[in-house]
Amino acid sequence: MKVSLFITCIVDQFYPEVGLAMSNLLTRLGVEISFNSEQTCCGQPAFNTGYGREARSVAEQMLKVFASELESVDYVVAPSGSCVTMVKKYYPELFADDAELKTQSEFVGSRLYELSQFLVDVLAVEDVGAAFQGRVTYHDSCHLLRELGLSRPPRKLINAVKGVEFVELDDADVCCGFGGTFSVKHPEISSAIAAEKIACIERSKADAVVACDSSCLMQMGGMLSRKGSAVRTLHLAELLAGQDMNNQDLK
């Protein structure tokens, strides 16, 4: 089984440890992984802010990279529900005016998986041999939940981690308030929404909040750390890559 990594720009630049965790995890599960360094960004920031032309020009580059990768690999896997949604749902729209690019985007979309879905639906695995000591809660990222329909796979994976005490977050499916450029265009509203999420996290008494999207983790983590909270944010990939019951292999 060969997989090409769609690492996402936010992981590449801000959270490389998430990419490394995903790499280690997939390798441990027997997947042969590759990384094409011509990849940059899926274009979502521009697209969501209304700059369709700019988004399309960037998306074309991504399409080229992954269409080429799929000539030698079986799947493309990304540690993000929102980036996967951008490609699967919006690329065919972006390229509606070009039959070849549209077909190519539909093809790439059909082989593209978000990490939790890849593990549970393609590799058919729930227990990845991970270990983590502590109380863990989970935040449903909006695109992952509502566009990709993925609510159970991440929970199955988290519950199978040895040592984890899983607790459901109140309003787990309510937005964290990031929303891309919304977080800086309407920062007060974004922060007010985040504050509600943080209150739920604190009520859960979890040691860590897990999510499948680094954008949500940046928002929640940014608020938690500003509050001086001891609650840590973990990407699902990091939780699943960890095998040390003392959590020493997590940064």
Partner: protein
């Protein structure tokens, strides 16, 4: 379009900021929206998710068919209304619709009218038009009565006074009605009822909106919990029903589909307490109808929306308010901040279309695109996609020119695209970013005012991948 003094969508940023710093509003919003969404969720669970999804799909299909054949169904509806002795007035603009109602009241020598809650009458600014002509409009829905007394606008599609606490209302009644202050809800309700009953008894004209206009019978359907619509439409001798042209449905059977969706979506009720099916004016075969029955069909920009393939679906809305209740933004800023009649996600889609894109450039962007609205919409309007379309139009058609920072943003995204299109430029920008970070630190004040920003990783993933043992 509507009375200018009340239209302030340009003030979204200031008004939303102010709303966030109002703890009483925050509390009121939280209580009401949580109650409504939990009740809705329970009602949907009770119906069964599969059944519910089938109902939504059916409703969407009926709306799609009707909207795409609107001219046919409107003409059929109008013909049937007239066949049953009603009068139909086709109003192109809000002013036109108001003029019809005002002139009718004047011709009949009417000095006061009673009205039920109707977002359409808010949209056209009917109360102001009537007052301007010396005619007194009395709101009979309790929530609307409260906001009327307070000289405010409703802040929610179904719960007009959601922004008011019990204490606010107690103060208001004591001040405006000259009674002893009480916070007991049964007492406050009884007081409003006494006052309104007297107005019902004397009113010569009742004005309502329309929930569904049934084309094949000329019947209008109205739903309510308080009974004020029953009184508004049966005591006065004249009934005027004002509706957007998109309210028509082909047949009574179709109404059945929407009835299963509307109340559950709005408040978790299986059905509203009173449902009125009203057809025509008094006749030998129908002695319960009022002497006169008028229907005002309002365009006010809807025909333009109809022609817009990307945004046409926003005409499917049955005004249930579910999208407001579930919206994380609405829950924090309330309805007034949106600056016009319709708040929340549907408001963010309707306001730019009806008031003008250049006047409502903030609303489509004031969303995290979480999609909760699209999930709960009983007629499956793709609200998040519409917000995206509006954003594109605002940015690419230059509507946001006047906005501060717009040129800088446009330039930034052009440069961003140039960098992201090329792996080499991407790497150069990434390196530059780290240099800047090392020297001055990366600052994004809009973020860092309330949240910590993580630094760019010392070594990016792609740099570390290169060193990975293969």
């Amino acid at each position: 379009m509507t009375v200018e003094s009340q239209v302030q969508p340009e003030r979204f940023v200031e008004d939303s900021r102010r709303a966030l710093t109002n703890p009483l509003l925050q509390r009121a919003l939280s209580i009401a929206t949580v109650k409504a969404t939990s009740a809705r969720y329970e009602a949907v669970t009770h119906v069964g998710v599969a059944n519910w999804e089938q109902l939504r799909e059916r409703a969407h299909t009926i709306k799609k068919h009707t909207i795409e054949n609107l001219d046919f169904y409107l003409e059929q509806f109008a013909a049937n209304v007239e066949r049953h002795g009603g009068k139909v007035h086709w109003a192109n603009t809000a002013a036109d619709a108001c003029k019809y109602v005002v002139e009718l009241a004047q011709r009949r020598g009417i000095g006061e009218i009673v009205k039920s809650k109707s977002m359409m009458t808010e949209e056209i600014g009917l109360n102001e038009a009537l007052e301007h002509a010396g005619i007194n409009p009395v709101e009979t829905d309790l929530g609307e009565y409260i906001v009327q007394l307070a000289n405010e606008r409703p802040s929610h599609i179904n719960m007009p006074a959601i922004h008011k606490t019990r204490s606010d209302v107690a103060d208001l009644f004591a001040e405006k009605l000259g009674v002893e202050r009480t916070e007991e809800i049964p007492e406050m309700t009884a007081l409003a009822r006494r006052i309104l009953r007297a107005r019902f008894a004397e009113a010569q004209m009742g004005v309502t909106g329309v929930n569904y206009a049934v084309a094949d019978t000329g019947t209008i359907v109205l739903v309510e919990n308080e009974g004020n619509i029953r009184l508004t439409t049966s005591l006065p001798r004249i009934h005027v029903a004002i509706m957007g042209i998109e309210k028509v449905v082909p047949s009574l059977r179709d109404v059945g589909v929407f009835m299963q969706l509307l109340s559950r979506s709005a408040s978790g009720q299986k059905m509203c307490s009173y449902v009125s099916f009203l057809t025509g004016a008094r006749s030998s075969t129908n002695d319960e109808a009022p002497d006169e029955f008028h229907v005002v069909l309002v365009d006010n920009g809807r025909v333009e929306m109809l022609a817009d393939e990307q945004l046409r679906e926003s005409l499917y809305c049955i005004r249930c308010g579910a999208c407001l209740n579930v919206c994380p933004v609405y829950r924090k800023i309330g309805g007034h901040a949106y600056g016009w009649v319709y708040p929340g996600p549907i408001g963010a889609v309707l306001t730019p279309q009806m008031i003008g894109l250049e006047r409502a450039t903030s609303q489509p962007f004031a969303s995290s695109l979480c999609g909760a609205c699209g999930d709960v919409c009983p007629v499956k309007i793709k609200l998040p996609d519409m917000l995206l379309h509006l954003r594109q139009r605002i940015k690419e058609n230059g509507h946001a020119k006047a906005e501060n920072g717009h040129l800088l943003e446009r330039l930034s995204f052009r440069l961003w695209a140039m960098a992201m299109r090329s792996p080499r430029r991407y790497r150069v920008i990434a390196r530059l970013g780290r240099i800047v970070q090392g020297v001055t630190g990366l600052r994004v004040p809009q973020w860092s005012n309330t949240r910590d920003l993580p630094p760019l990783a010392r070594r990016s993933f792609r740099e570390q991948w290169r060193q990975r043992p293969h």
